[in-house]
């Protein structure tokens, strides 16, 4: 019986010849990542010193911190948090990425998505590094373990394999694939397991599209998602990689908890209605519903292909009067390229508001809605209050649908604009 890519990565990280799903092991993360956030990093930094007597982390190159929330700071208190973060990183010799974009995306850009590596973070959306064959797990507060010890305790997870087939129709995007998976497999289908994507259909998706899917894995209950990297993704990741590791791949006879097949060619654009990420519907059933705000961005969808399709739809058109369209590229690298290609000017001329990369629109710090307003969004989540008032509503959809809805001020099918 062969091994999954997850079992292979964890065996190496644990220094064992092999591990199997269910084994309880101690594994050394290749990288420990975090973004600064009140109650998380500031607490870890204090606890390390006061509770564990650690003045300086060993192997600082294994750690990286991102400043991507509260950017720019809106209050002196927020800036104070950032100052504390800069100070800790400087004292510890830990790399700090500030204002480069949303950390989960930047992590891939600067080489923490090393194929074959084991990465931990407190935030579960780090799962998107799985696009490159990296096993990246969000441990919530338990990531403190990785700050005060060399290894973390982990039960080797089982894997659910999803094979994709066929090709997406125009106007249907990788996000729709993920939401469709939640619909057919269920919001608990991969509970405590790894979601492994494969099949011939995966090669028809862009690397960015796969990042959208792996980013959202937690809403199937998965602790992360992973893909056996192909040439294209290795060509992105290997030259940037911060560590020399051999990429690993699932064996053909690896054991899976379940195997599912999904046909991409039959999918339609999807909308996820409030108040939970489990409420998947066809977008066509909600066309015409009035919306006042649109958000295109987040660690799930604000990449070049998302901005490109929005620009294509908005070119020569205008955002509806009174509609607030916020377009926030996921990273500076993406924003600069979108500007070079003219997407930014197209969106601005259409009446969109474009702002520098930040997590703030997605987690609700920049709250844009009041009672009874409604948004279309490519953010990660549609729970009540995520974009302002708990009495506002968020409909999650793909970037093309956000752009089309911005033109009409109503939920719109992007396919008629393509």
């Amino acid at each position: 019986m062969g091994y999954t890519i997850t079992e292979k990565i964890l065996a190496r990280a644990a220094g064992l010849p092999s591990v199997r799903a269910g084994d309880e092991i101690m594994a050394k993360p290749d990288f420990v990542l975090a973004y600064d956030f009140p109650g998380y990093t500031d607490v870890y930094f204090r606890q390390m010193k006061e509770e564990f007597g650690i003045d300086k982390v060993a192997e600082p190159e294994r750690y990286a911190i991102f400043i991507d929330h509260m950017v720019p700071a809106a209050t002196p208190k927020e800036e104070e948090l950032h100052i504390g973060t800069r100070k800790w990183c400087a004292e510890n010799g830990v790399p700090l990425y500030e204002r480069k974009g949303i950390g989960h995306q930047v992590a891939a850009e600067v080489g923490y998505a090393t194929p074959g590596a084991f990465v931990v973070h407190f935030d579960g959306h780090i799962s998107q590094l799985g696009t490159f064959g990296t096993l990246a797990i969000g441990m919530r507060r338990n990531v403190l373990e990785a700050f005060v010890r060399e290894k973390v305790s982990i039960r080797v997870p089982q894997t659910v394999r999803v094979n994709l087939h066929g090709e997406l129709q125009p106007g249907v995007m990788a996000r729709d694939v993920f939401h469709h998976m939640v619909r057919v497999l269920g919001p608990a289908s991969c509970r405590f397991q790894v979601l492994e994507l494969g099949g011939p259909g995966i090669d028809t998706l862009t690397t960015e599209g796969i990042q959208s899917i792996t980013c959202l894995a937690m809403f199937t209950g998965a602790i992360t998602a992973i893909v056996n990297p192909d040439e294209k993704r290795l060509a992105y990741a290997l030259p940037r990689a911060r560590k020399q590791l051999d990429p690993v791949f699932s064996d053909a006879d690896a054991e899976y908890a379940a195997v599912h097949d999904i046909d991409l060619s039959g999918l339609e654009p999807i909308v996820v209605i409030p108040p939970t990420p489990a409420n998947t519907r066809n977008l066509s059933d909600y066309v015409g519903l009035e919306v006042q705000a649109g958000y295109l961005g987040s660690c799930a969808s604000g990449r070049l292909e998302d901005i490109e399709i929005a620009a294509r739809i908005l070119a020569g058109r205008q955002v509806a009067t009174g509609f607030m369209l916020h377009v926030i590229p996921t990273s500076q690298e993406i924003m600069a390229e979108a500007a070079r290609r003219g997407y930014v000017s197209t969106i601005v001329e259409a009446g969109g508001f474009v702002s520098s990369p930040s997590c703030d629109y997605c987690f609700g710090r920049i709250a844009t809605m009041t009672d009874n307003q409604r948004a279309v969004s490519t953010g990660t989540l549609n729970v009540k209050g995520r974009m302002g008032s708990p009495d506002s509503e968020i409909y999650l959809c793909n970037a093309a649908a956000v752009a089309a809805s911005a033109i009409e001020g109503r939920i719109a099918d992007p396919r008629k604009y393509l």
Binding site: E150, A188, T276, G385
Partner: protein, 169 residues
């Protein structure tokens, strides 16, 4: 220190699967830090008298994938303040599970629990025997064993004491 069995009444049953725990205090209150204030708001939309009738040691019962979404810590801080000693659910969402185990708050994954108990039944989670007992009705069900690290963390009283107790790898 051995893990003490949970023994108390079922103070509430959340029938809903994929339950978002933020609803316990309401999303608009999620940023409140003061635990008294949070506790006063907890469960208001489910049972306005909850704070008055709950007793220390009581547990709550949940459905499948309890804690789905982006769970925050304040709702369970509020319930602990009211005396809730743990949660028994059909199954848990991993993010929520990790977060609360790291707080030293016992969680017990017990498929079939909703059919085993009614509100206010007296129950016992026997960690060593691996069963949840309904003491009122004299029935029991096995629960899913805890991972070793989770058990040690609960015994230690949470993440920080656990890491102090087991400093080496």
């Amino acid at each position: 220190m051995p893990l003490e069995n949970l023994r108390g009444r079922v103070a509430f049953i959340f029938e809903e699967d994929d339950f978002d725990v933020d609803q316990i205090v309401g999303v608009k209150n999620i940023k409140i830090q003061d635990v008294e204030e949070l506790a006063a708001l907890a469960m208001r939309s489910y049972d306005p008298d909850f704070a008055k009738v709950v007793k220390p040691g009581d547990v709550i019962v949940g459905g499948h994938n309890f804690g789905y979404g982006h769970p925050h810590y304040p709702p369970m801080r509020a319930l602990r303040h009211l005396g809730i000693a743990g949660v028994i659910a059909e199954s848990f969402s991993p993010g929520y599970w990790r977060g609360e185990i790291s707080m030293g708050f016992p969680q017990c994954s017990c498929p079939g629990i909703r059919a085993l108990v009614s509100r206010w039944d007296e129950v016992e989670v026997d960690w060593d025997a691996g069963v949840v007992r309904n003491l009122t009705r004299g029935r029991e069900l096995p629960f899913e064993p805890l991972a070793k690290a989770d058990r040690l963390m609960l015994e230690a009283g949470g993440l920080v004491p656990y890491l102090k107790q087991y400093p080496a790898n």
